[in-house]
């Protein structure tokens, strides 16, 4: 199977690989997938208390090239966004941007799940109940 140029680019030079302090109050961590399914994504966001915007995002992914590219792209998109805007990132946006073939759509779903899990973790730590956008995303 041939990969798109964008997948190859993210795979070869992944953006924002790394680890944020998961115990910090302003860091949200999402860990999704399972080793036996062949992909695990850990996506972390750091939120600026003053602005409420995502100031940093990091990832590490165990998985195929599309899974790595999906999470790398997600961290790029997350930086500078508000949590509400971050909640609106849809897996199909990732599919389109990376030109993922149908068999790789699950990678984008996993990236969306990871974003939502990281936001949920941050909100839980800070005693925030789910914002309006969450309801929209679920619906």
């Amino acid at each position: 199977m041939a990969y798109s140029e964008k997948v190859l680019d993210h795979f070869k030079s992944p953006r924002n690989v790394g680890t944020l302090n998961k115990d910090a109050k302003n860091v949200g961590t999402g860990l999704v997938g399972a080793p036996e399914c062949g992909d695990v994504m850990r996506l972390q966001i750091e939120v600026d208390d003053a602005t409420g915007l995502i100031s940093d995002a990091k990832f590490k992914t165990f998985g195929c090239g599309s899974a790595i590219a999906s999470s790398s792209l997600a961290t790029e998109w997350l930086k500078g966004k508000s949590l509400d805007d971050a909640m609106r990132i849809d897996n199909m946006d990732i599919v389109e941007e990376l030109a993922l073939p149908p068999v790789k759509i699950h990678c984008s779903v996993l990236a969306e799940d990871a974003i939502k899990a990281a936001i949920a973790d941050y909100q839980q730590k800070n005693g925030i109940t789910a914002p309006v956008a969450m309801a929209e995303a679920v619906a």
Partner: protein
């Protein structure tokens, strides 16, 4: 040496043709283009002679009679003919077939087809090292058993089943024994009569011959085995397989068998050294595991799991330079890990982390050394990206985590 040449370490998928094979084939596309069944002119006679000669070359490699070699389109067809042909021919004797979970799909799917037609099939499990349990095999045989079908060497791990011991059990119980020897023929000695195998499938393109031609060995005496034809027509191949013979392919197959017979020993000795070198160097990395019995294994194959790294992603780090296969079937429509490795009791996570390296006649030491470096760099790159590698290094017990399967 040209550094950009793609290093081919996927010889279990298919081998390149030996140039000597192609040279032997070429006249049979042009001046000697006859149909081997044409009895009335020179073209036909030449083609028939060429097929007879190739049949002899192959019979010599197997140490059998030339009439016992039936040409087919490949090992998949041979496996279909053996299983379906025996099931139909021996229907009065019984309907029970014994095989193993780690067989090739050409066996498993054919068995599935026969189950719908009334066969009862026992799928033996394998031990952690990939070998079947002989006591389990014997215990599975019953009065209605007509056939045991077990592969000589596994395509994914190279593990060699104890052919002689299996044959003795079959002989004791009067059951026919078929072996899918696709990965073994031409690479290690495979003498079905001496071992006690009654039917044996194999193909040219795994032994430096062309694609599209294979054969089924069918024992003609002690016992005389018959199979019901699956392709009807002009009655070629003693009525067992109709269809105009693929003369150039068969000529190439014969030449490949002749070369294999002469060079097998030196090829195997050289390749096992190279394979051992590759395996030793790669397993020096932390958290690696060789899959399958290392004592009973093909000389040119090793299957290694690189823990906490996903196989398809890993391959992507070096697939501009090295061609190998992964036990992670993430590339195909199914996202299932290798059923062969899972059947050996490997967890799905380790199966997803495995790579099969299969060397061949044209693999060089320089290529293996380059591959070692590229794979090591790839594993390190992927581990730097892997959250579970990080957790492992922090001492997190990965089995205690509640993963969200999706």
């Amino acid at each position: 040496m040209n550094q950009r040449r793609l290093i081919y370490l996927d010889n279990n998928a298919t081998t390149p043709c030996d140039p000597r094979v192609v040279d032997a084939m070429i006249p049979y596309f042009y001046e000697k283009h006859g149909n081997a069944a044409s009895r009335s002119h020179q073209f036909g006679w030449e083609a028939e002679d060429a097929v007879d000669y190739a049949r002899e070359q192959i019979a010599k490699l197997l140490d059998v009679e030339d009439k016992e070699v039936i040409f087919t389109s490949g090992a998949t067809e041979s496996n279909n003919l053996a299983l379906k042909g025996v099931f139909e021919m021996y229907a009065k004797k019984g309907n029970h077939i014994i095989t193993a979970e780690t067989e090739h799909k050409a066996i498993l799917d054919t068995c599935g087809h026969l189950e719908k037609a009334g066969a009862e099939v026992t799928y033996l499990k394998v031990k952690e090292d990939g070998l079947i349990d002989l006591a389990e095999l014997e215990a599975a045989i019953k009065p209605s058993t007509i056939l045991v079908s077990l592969m000589w060497a596994n395509n994914e791990t190279g593990v060699i089943q104890p052919m002689r011991e299996i044959a003795m059990i079959c002989e004791k119980h009067g059951v026919l024994f078929h072996s899918d020897a696709t990965q073994a023929v031409g690479k290690i000695p495979t003498h079905p009569r001496e071992v006690g195998i009654h039917l044996m499938s194999f193909t040219a393109h795994k032994m430096y011959g062309p694609k599209g031609v294979g054969a089924l060995y069918v024992s003609r005496k002690n016992p005389r085995v018959k199979v019901t034809a699956q392709i009807d027509g002009g009655g070629h191949e003693r009525g067992m397989r109709s269809g105009t013979l693929n003369v150039p392919g068969i000529v190439g197959f014969g030449k490949a068998a002749e070369i294999a017979r002469e060079e097998m020993q030196q090829d195997a000795a050289r390749l096992s050294q190279l394979r051992d070198h590759l395996q030793t160097e790669l397993t020096k990395m932390e958290e690696t595991k060789v899959n399958g019995n290392e004592q009973s294994r093909m000389p040119h194959v090793t299957n290694i799991s690189f823990k906490h790294v996903e196989g398809e992603g890993l391959m992507m780090t070096f697939n501009q330079n090295i061609a190998v296969s992964s036990g992670s079937a993430c590339t195909s429509a199914s996202l299932e890990p290798s059923y062969v490795l899972v059947g050996m009791g490997l967890g799905d996570d380790l199966a997803h982390s495995s790579i099969r390296f299969s060397l061949g006649r044209f693999t060089t030491k320089e290529e293996v050394d380059q591959a070692i470096e590229l794979v090591r760099n790839g594993v390190n790159h992927m581990r730097d990206l892997s959250p579970i590698w990080e957790m492992y290094q922090e001492g997190v017990d990965l089995t205690k985590i509640e993963w969200s399967a999706h």
